[in-house]
């Protein structure tokens, strides 16, 4: 194929995240390491996208990288703090949808169709025109439309297709061509992989193509759509990754719970955990230095199933066409 797409996170961000890009960051395939690299690189004027935008998105808001968000849920806005202030005073512009809304919009973007209907949002205040055209928004009449189905007269809301300029995602494994395999519930990441114009994937493991091709149902996007692959063990920490590690709530409580309260608190966190390290490997080294060499054992997986029956992708190589 083409040359290997393997590179480190700083190169991947430098090459494939441009100032002004809309960036899918999401929740379930949360690419903490890649988001931290974006903050380190000082990217600007980004838009954060996700059905829900998790705490890794908070890095982008607090770090001055993203000034727009399109989501159904913004973890950073959950509690009073800087992000709520930014949304009130216009520093962070926002368009509120919902988990289903964003998931369907990503699907429509992936499908190359300009919009997709939904029956959600009917009967809500989201559809009030004065809320659609709110001062903090950036979509106006591109936010949604209403129509009656020409087939049965049923009311629907049309949501516009969403094609993020780039998606950053963390996965269990990939090969150097960019074929990515993920297992476990996927949230809206399944369609983000297909909708984004550029895809940057960090993966716990880089495997030969033979591993991918021996179980092709697990692949979530073909490599030719992927721009960069970063080998990044613990790349989703302190979020979880099925089969690798669980949420590190203890770390979150200790280091991240106050980072949204003020710029000073943020700077203290960022200086230590983002700017203070060169990459995710150094981040993990630092983690071990601070919390103990064995501290990550507390979140390592120690329960849960694995396949117990084989599958085979077999065919008949000596097939005859006549008896």
């Amino acid at each position: 194929m083409s040359a290997s797409k393997l590179m480190d996170e700083n190169e991947a961000v430098a090459r494939f995240v441009d100032d002004g890009d809309s960036v899918y960051v999401g929740y379930t395939s949360a690419a903490y390491g890649l988001c931290q690299a974006i903050v380190r690189a000082g990217k600007r004027n980004l838009e954060a996208i996700g059905g829900s935008v998790g705490p890794q998105g908070t890095f982008l808001f607090m770090g001055g990288c993203a000034n727009r968000v399109r989501a159904g849920y913004v973890a950073a806005a959950l509690r009073p703090g800087v992000v709520q202030e930014m949304m009130a005073d216009g520093r962070l512009r926002f368009e509120d949808y919902s988990n289903q809304g964003i998931a369907l919009m990503l699907m429509a973007g992936a499908l190359g169709i300009p919009f997709i209907p939904t029956r959600s949002f009917l009967g809500t205040d989201y559809l009030r025109p004065e809320f659609r055209d709110h001062a903090g928004g950036f979509l106006r009449d591109k936010k949604w439309a209403e129509m009656d189905s020409p087939f049965d007269g049923e009311k629907v809301v049309l949501l516009p297709a969403l094609r993020p300029d780039v998606a950053v995602l963390h996965a269990q494994r990939a090969d150097e061509d960019g074929n990515v395999q993920v297992w476990g519930h996927l949230g809206d990441a399944r369609w983000a992989y297909w909708a984004a114009r550029k895809v940057i994937v960090s993966a716990e493991e880089i495997v030969p193509r033979e591993v991918i091709a021996a179980d092709p149902d697990r692949t979530v996007t073909p490599g030719f759509r992927v721009s960069a692959v970063v080998h990044m063990p613990w790349g989703g920490h302190p979020s979880s990754l099925v089969g690798y590690y669980d949420y590190d709530y203890a770390y979150q409580a200790r280091t991240m719970s106050r980072m949204g309260r003020s710029m000073e608190e943020w700077q203290s966190f960022a200086d230590e955990w983002i700017h203070g390290v060169r990459d995710r490997a150094e981040y993990i080294d630092h983690y071990r230095a601070v919390f103990g060499a064995e501290a990550l054992d507390a979140i390592a997986v120690n329960a849960g199933p694995s396949p117990i029956a084989p599958v085979r992708y077999g065919y008949n190589a000596t097939l005859r066409f006549r008896m």
Partner: protein, 268 residues
């Protein structure tokens, strides 16, 4: 059990679980709803089918499950699910396709007609306070066949009209859902820190659609509930008193929340 031996949050979970239908597809939001769904699934006959908006289908907590899912993204939801997939399958295909019998939700505000607000307090354009957002709450309220809402009760949360209707109940009364293009809904319920509410939808769906206090927690006076309700609350004739939780129920609940993530004493 006596009152001192359980918290209000525990009482809410128990009361909510008892309000579950015996069978059907349940989609629960994060927080107490997910804990309650897990609890109900372990307590009840096996007809409850738990699905999450993130993509877990027919999750059956292993008998020795170490915790209820902390939120709907908890990776322990992959252990015991018959299928895992994505959000379009869950909130699109399953929910929008008409396959969800009960949505279990929480919210910052609820109003007389069961509408919820998960987005903002005050005027959306100049809010007193912005919240995290609706997540999948909106579509579950729009499209599930019935909705059970679990939330603490205060006068500023139980309001005549929600500041922003993110999640339609009966909107502004009889027929409003159909006029909006939504499927009908109900019977619905709200479990608060004071008791359990139903909605007057009538037998044929021709009631007033307003919230009615149907049962109170042990020792609770309906007049106190009225005080913490922002409209003239209707109280059912012969309002019942909820049976206290059993020791077994509380033990199971606490086992499901070993770190007091949801059930921190004094949280409600």
């Amino acid at each position: 059990m006596s009152e001192q031996e359980y918290t209000l949050a525990e009482l809410m979970c128990v009361a909510a679980a008892r309000a579950f239908p015996v069978s059907g597809v349940v989609m629960a939001g994060m927080g107490l709803p997910m804990l309650t769904a897990t609890f109900a699934k372990l307590l009840q006959p096996p007809g409850i089918v738990i699905c999450t908006e993130v993509g877990a289908f027919d999750w059956r907590p292993p008998p020795d499950v170490s915790r209820a899912p902390v939120g709907i993204h908890d990776i322990n939801l992959n252990d015991g699910s018959a299928m895992v997939s994505d959000m379009v399958d869950a909130l699109g295909t399953l929910l929008m396709g008409g396959n969800v019998d009960l949505g279990v939700l929480s919210a910052a505000q609820v109003d007389r007609f069961g509408n919820l607000n998960t987005l903002v307090l005050g005027d959306y354009r100049h809010p007193e306070r912005r919240l995290g957002g609706t997540g999948g709450n909106t579509e579950i309220a729009c499209l599930a066949k019935r909705v059970l809402t679990i939330m603490p009760q205060e006068r500023r949360r139980f309001v005549e009209r929600v500041d922003f209707n993110t999640s339609p109940g009966y909107i502004d009364g009889p027929g409003a859902r159909l006029r909006a293009g939504l499927p009908p809904q109900g019977p619905n319920a709200v479990v608060s820190t004071f008791g359990v509410f139903g909605f007057d939808t009538g037998d044929g769906g021709d009631g007033s659609c307003e919230m009615v206090l149907e049962a109170v927690f042990p020792g609770m006076d309906p007049d106190i509930v009225r005080l913490e309700t922002g409209w003239p609350l209707r109280v059912a004739d012969g309002v019942a008193e909820i049976e206290p939780p059993t020791a077994e129920e509380i033990a199971l609940l606490r086992r499901l929340d070993p770190h007091h993530f949801y059930l921190t004493p004094g949280r409600y």
